[in-house]
């Protein structure tokens, strides 16, 4: 998951070229809208400015260890009592930190240098905290566990109130620095309307908890510290927006509409179609075997994008054919007869691999990435095709295969020939480069289907880096130039009767989906959480209305 680069994809259905000026931006980690009064987490305990002088080091050490032990006991009790999925494990792991022999060693050393118990714990935790932060990525997200141990133990030692979830009789929007595992169990889902944290990332505890409970959540919202206790805010967990200063009537309306939307979502089933019955395949984007589990829950018609990078990331060498076959079989068996479109390895640029991609490229987004890596190391691609063909044969699954970052008809032919040769009858290409869209008809002389990756296509069409937040208006999928290229590609497909899908973020927008259908796109592939909204949006319009909306969008109209 990345920072949303598409400001038009909001559950409120309000496309925007830039966030509303008064709204605070973070990373949306659990979609949904909610509005309510802000309640902040209990403050973290502070060490007093005056540090007492240690007279009895042995007594300080005993006090520190007793407090740590009490914290660990408390965490273990919560672990045994929790009903929140996954929480017990996290709590046990945090308790293990409180009982860690290395932590005891550091505390002992700090006390021997004259630090009182609370200060010694603070210092010892700080040292490990710095080490974890240096490691970066998901290791760094574990500092929340450390901070939790520190805060609870220091509060005990100094006789300060326990930090944590506020007690309220009425529902509220919880605003915190970050949530610790212990908080995740004291949190009452019927009280918390939404979660907003200053820190955290897509895999932080807050994000995991929010998704398991289905509570709208925004993390990494740096300005959340400015939110005022009791002020009513609206949280958009898809776009990552938090809007302060909401009137009570507007908040009630937001929550009422969200309730209706949830009810409609839960009841939403069946294949995608417009009000007049024009079929639009609704497919899932998945990144591993676990992702396929959502198929039945959201009633998707198949997988429109199976990203295979998870097999290759963090490895020194490419996985063996046998290893790949086993993993593909897992995924294919979960399909239950539905179609799956596999994208071959998309390495390079933001996803470097030691065995495949170039060390130093001046401009990696324009360098050796996607299918281009096969120019240097065709073996990796061939092994993948062989493995996919074997897994297909063993499971009898409907497997389509496509290559990322295809620019020309010659590249398309090279790939589809290779796929056919290795026993994969249906092979196509991704359209992410303007050249491929302009020449879609040529590509379709070799490709059995095309799939448009709108995120990269926008980046290359508007010459704006996907991750450049300041250029979000250029990356807006409503840009007419981008829609022109989607139309050209879709029309080329219609002319020869071959499917053209969209598998970028744009497909997940309920306001944009009818436009894409109006442009001639035949399938939409998106994350599981978007399927129901898109299905409902399509069911509300006819194909003719889709075409009208497409024409308006091509003319530069941004719907209000």
């Amino acid at each position: 998951m990345t920072i949303p680069s598409d400001p038009s994809v909001t559950t409120s259905g309000e496309p925007a070229t830039a966030p509303v000026p008064s709204s605070l931006q973070g990373i949306g980690v659990c979609p949904g809208l909610a509005a309510g009064p802000v309640a902040r987490m209990g403050p973290r305990p502070r060490l007093p400015d005056d540090r007492p002088v240690v007279v009895d080091a042995e007594a300080e050490l005993a006090a520190a260890m007793a407090a740590l032990s009490a914290t660990a006991d408390d965490l273990e009790r919560r672990a045994a009592a929790t009903a929140v999925p996954g929480a017990a494990e996290v709590l046990e792991a945090t308790a293990m930190i409180a009982r860690d022999p290395a932590l005891e060693e550091s505390i002992r050393s700090a006390i021997s240098k004259g630090e009182p118990a609370a200060w010694a714990i603070d210092r010892a935790i700080d040292a490990f905290r710095a080490l974890l932060l240096d490691l970066g990525g998901y290791m760094a997200e574990r500092v929340a566990d450390l901070d939790d141990v520190r805060d609870r133990t220091v509060a005990l030692l100094l006789g300060q109130p326990m930090p944590g979830i506020p007690e309220r009789d009425t529902p509220y929007v919880l605003v915190a620095e970050d949530l610790a595992p212990a908080d995740t169990v004291t949190l009452k889902p019927d009280r918390v309307l939404a979660l907003v944290t200053v820190k955290g990332g897509p895999t932080s505890h807050t994000a995991i908890l929010a998704r398991s409970l289905g509570i709208p959540a925004v993390v990494a919202c740096a300005a959340a510290g400015t939110l005022v206790e009791g002020d009513i805010v609206e949280v958009d967990g898809a776009a990552g927006h938090v809007r302060p200063g909401i009137k009570p009537a507007a908040a009630a309306e937001t929550n009422r509409r969200e309730g209706e939307r949830r009810a409609a979502r839960a009841a939403s089933r069946g294949p995608g179609r417009t009000a007049d019955g024009h079929p639009v395949g609704l497919l899932l984007n998945i990144g591993d075997a676990a992702g396929a589990a959502a198929l039945a829950r959201v009633d998707a018609e198949g997988v429109g994008l199976f990203r295979t990078e998870f097999l290759y990331l963090d490895r020194q060498e490419a996985p063996s054919i046998d290893e790949q076959v086993a993993l593909y079989i897992d995924v294919f068996e979960a399909m239950g007869g539905r179609k799956i479109v596999v994208r071959t390895l998309d390495a390079g640029a933001d996803k470097p691999l030691p065995f495949l991609t170039a060390e130093h490229e001046p401009n990696p987004a324009l360098g050796m990435r996607g299918l281009r890596t096969a120019r240097r190391s065709p073996g990796v691609l061939i092994d993948q095709l062989v493995a996919l063909a074997r897994a297909r044969e063993q499971t009898g699954a409907t497997v389509w295969v496509m290559a990322p970052m295809v620019a020309t008809a010659a590249e398309t032919k090279g790939f589809t020939d290779l796929a056919h040769e290795h026993g994969l009858p249906i092979a196509g290409a991704m359209v992410e480069i303007p050249a491929a869209a302009l020449r879609a008809a040529d590509l379709l002389r070799h490709a059995d289907f095309l799939s448009i990756g709108t995120n990269d296509l926008a980046q290359y069409t508007l010459a704006a880096d996907r991750m450049a937040g300041e250029l979000a208006d250029l990356l807006d999928p409503w840009q007419p130039a981008l829609l022109d290229l989607i139309r050209m590609t879709a029309q080329a497909g219609l002319n020869v009767g071959r499917p053209v899908g969209v598998c970028g973020e744009a497909a997940a927008s309920p306001t944009l989906a009818p436009v894409l259908v109006g442009l001639g796109v035949t399938t939409l592939s998106m994350s599981a959480s978007a399927i129901a909204d898109v299905r409902e949006a399509l069911a509300a319009v006819t194909l003719a209305e889709c075409r009208e909306r497409a024409a308006a969008a091509l003319a530069g109209q941004h719907p209000a």
Binding site: E89, D100, P101, Y138, M139
Partner: protein, 90 residues
Amino acid sequence: MAQRQVVVGSRVGLHARPASMFVKAAAAQPVRITIRKGDGPPVDARSMLRVLTLGARHGDTVILEADGEGAEAALEAVAAVVAEDHDDPV
């Protein structure tokens, strides 16, 4: 001294659940086990913090060492935990 080289099997590295399982397994052994990555200093395998801060990722090779009676069997047991992919969903 008994020694084992193991490749980290977990997709998330020695982190989260795989790290907890490893530390628990090490603490259950009758001998003291150390773990290191490459030429790094060996650290106490019973310490969650030391194990986490090794920064051992998927595919990294780690070296486990132990001394004394039962060292071989102990290493065998914890090496299996390192090599396995626990398929942690986090």
